[in-house]
């Protein structure tokens, strides 16, 4: 099973702009498609829970960046939502805010969660193409304007280098030492 995240440094993106807030993970992938034991092959179920979702995807077959309104990925913890997006070729999601668990899942899988609001978001929502510089934490919209964005410095390396699980594995000894020294309750 593929687990190592591919390195993503720059993204030349075609956008899928969704003028909606609160796109929850049930809309991204309904629970009836969570019956497998694999992280792959879930792209076929993407947005099947969103009214008009399949038609929207069909109209943008080459899109690899989603731009949406606030609170994208709220709700269920299902990482399948991120797997469905990456399986379909999506590299980044741009929105003013994300559900916490979705954002963590995105980082762990190399999907770039870009929090952007105000002028930058409005410009992105109008852009058919977007260029994202992950390392430099900036993106350029179709009109040529550039906007900076924040990424968590630790989790950013999981996007650039992959290896979340490998990183966790390096901590095992330190955790055991901490646990051994932990005061008993």
């Amino acid at each position: 099973m593929a687990a190592r995240v591919k390195t993503v440094v720059k993204v030349k993106g075609q956008t899928l702009c969704v003028e909606r807030a609160n796109i929850d993970t049930d809309q991204i992938i309904p629970a009836r498609f969570l019956t497998g034991i694999s992280k792959t092959g879930l792209g076929q179920y993407l947005f099947l829970g969103m009214p008009g979702g399949p038609e929207m995807l069909a109209a943008h077959p080459d899109a690899n960046v989603i731009v949406a309104r606030e609170n994208f990925g709220c709700g269920s913890s299902r990482e399948h939502a991120v797997w469905a997006l990456t399986d379909r070729g999506f590299k980044a999601v741009i929105a003013p805010s994300f559900g916490r668990i979705f954002e963590e899942n995105a980082y762990a899988n190399g999907l770039i969660p870009i929090a952007l609001d105000g002028e930058g978001l409005e410009a992105a929502l109008k852009s058919r193409t977007i260029e994202i510089d992950v390392e430099g934490q900036k993106l350029t919209t179709e009109d040529g304007k550039t906007y900076g964005f924040e990424l968590d410095p630790l989790r950013k390396r999981f996007i650039l280098e992959g290896g979340f699980m490998e990183w966790m594995a390096t901590k095992i000894d330190a955790v055991r030492a901490w646990e051994a020294a932990r005061p008993t309750v």
Binding site: D24, T35, G36, M50, R78, S97, R100, N105, R155, K171
Partner: protein, 456 residues
């Protein structure tokens, strides 16, 4: 320094400070279920020598679709089963299982001061015990099984003081729906909601679990209640708890976890629930909610209206229903079933109604009280425990365009079935609505259809 409840639990679990104000946070217990665990377990098996940090810190259960409904879910359950057996992980399976957020407390695996994590967003339910309980994805859960830690930025804390005397018929479910309507569907994002105040103090553990269960529906990282004598009384004698001196020793620590007077909070919200009436959602997120006798707001979101087939100003009581569901990690505990049974006793439902207990232990306890007879005499289906139709997976999925009143936690588009329309409410309102065939409170039901002769 004065500490909040979250501060105390957090500080006791930080293994290491990390860049970006992150911490490596030790997780005392990981809960593993069949929908989100297999992919991570397989990853650890294939790439990390199948080594888990400490199998004794994992509790596994087949809970979402158990028994399996088809070949695929049968394989999920079997993967969890063989994995648990291979590692000596405690597994709850067919016959003695239940929804993880119901079972974990019922068996005493959660307690004040612990950190808990599970690949399930409603893990926040466990915060009712004064634990920090985190819903996470599969990869982070795998990380927590490999190294017993999560990488986490310390959440901000929103202190929510709940005061006032609840109106007639209002329950913990109505309180949390009201709280979400006040702080908004995403207003808790980045926060742990620390619930305080006399209303919370007076709540049973079942009620506090309902309150914490829906913290995620405000976007919150988790919900927490201070441990008190109610918490201690609940945990005493539970399966995973020690007895005698060992238990008494724990109590002293648990009592020390109360928030210090003068603790600082990132936000303080006062919620007055005086006169609060039963609440029902009209829209497609739990914050879109009004009293059961209310109307769809004039400024209602157009996308929500379209999905729900509603107009501004429509009276909720005028809505004809197609289905009713009582269950889920929000409202399927014994006290919820008692409330629903009190409404249904001596009455008949007029729409398909499903009652699904939260665990097999809840089911047996309910049957010892004869509640299964009340439900079945009323014409409802009484099932084994399951997550069932709450997430549109099995046992009562809602058909497109049909309207279901439900004691669950999410009214998202398609949540209980593609195109299905969900109105969230308390078990009491769901039961009353099941009889009326329209949305209504037990009071409405009493006015519309006085009870048939009740047999003791």
């Amino acid at each position: 320094m004065s500490k909040s409840l979250l501060d105390k639990v957090w500080d006791a679990h930080v293994v290491e400070e990390l860049p970006g104000e992150n911490a490596l946070l030790f997780i005392d217990r990981v809960i593993a279920h069949e929908i989100t665990t297999p992919q991570g377990a397989i990853d650890i098996q294939e790439r990390f020598g199948d080594k888990l940090y400490d199998p004794d810190r994992i509790i596994a259960m087949n809970d979402h679709v158990s028994p399996a409904k088809d070949q695929e879910t049968a394989i999920q359950a079997q993967v969890l089963r063989t994995w648990a057996k291979r590692h000596g992980i405690k597994l709850y399976d067919i016959g003695d299982n239940g929804i993880c957020h119901v079972m974990v407390p019922e068996r005493g695996y959660v307690e004040p001061g612990l950190t808990m994590a599970c690949g399930d967003s409603h893990t926040c339910t466990l915060g009712a015990f004064g634990a920090l309980a985190l819903g996470i994805g599969t990869t982070l859960q795998a990380g927590a099984m490999l190294a017993q830690c999560l990488i986490l930025q310390k959440p901000k804390v929103m202190r929510i003081d709940i005061e006032g005397k609840l109106g007639h018929g209002a329950t913990a479910k109505d309180v949390i729906l009201y709280v979400i309507s006040k702080i908004s569907f995403k207003g808790g994002t980045g926060y742990v909601l620390e619930y305080h105040g006399p209303v919370v103090d007076a709540m049973s553990m079942d009620e506090r679990m309902t309150l914490c269960n829906m913290a995620i529906e405000a976007g919150a990282t988790s919900g927490m209640c201070e441990p008190d004598e109610t918490t201690i009384g609940y945990l005493r004698g539970r399966e995973a708890q020690p007895t005698g001196e060992a238990f008494e020793k724990k109590i002293a620590y648990w009592r020390s976890l109360k928030a210090d007077p003068g603790a600082s909070y990132d936000k303080v919200v006062k919620i007055d629930v005086s006169g609060l009436r039963p609440m029902v959602t009209w829209g497609t997120n739990p914050g879109e909610v009004v009293p059961a006798d209310g109307t769809v707001p004039a400024d209602a979101n157009a996308t929500s209206l379209e999905y729900m087939g509603l107009q501004p100003g429509t009276s909720l009581r005028s809505l004809e229903l197609d289905q009713a569901f009582i269950g889920s990690c929000t409202n399927s505990r014994l006290s919820d079933l008692r409330i629903a049974a009190d409404v249904l006793r001596g009455r008949k439902v007029t729409i398909p109604t499903i009652v699904t207990p939260g665990s097999q232990a809840v089911k047996r306890a309910a049957e010892r009280e004869g509640l299964h007879d009340v439900f079945q005499d009323a014409g409802a289906l009484w099932t084994h425990s399951s997550c069932g139709p709450c997430l549109g997976m099995s046992m009562g999925v809602v058909a497109p365009g049909l309207r279901c009143v439900s004691s669950t936690n999410r009214n998202f588009p398609g949540r209980m079935g593609n195109g299905g329309r969900v109105h969230l409410a308390s078990p009491a309102v769901v039961a009353a609505s099941a009889v009326l065939g329209r949305i209504g409170s037990p009071e409405d039901l009493e006015a519309a259809a006085p009870r048939e002769k009740v047999t003791a």
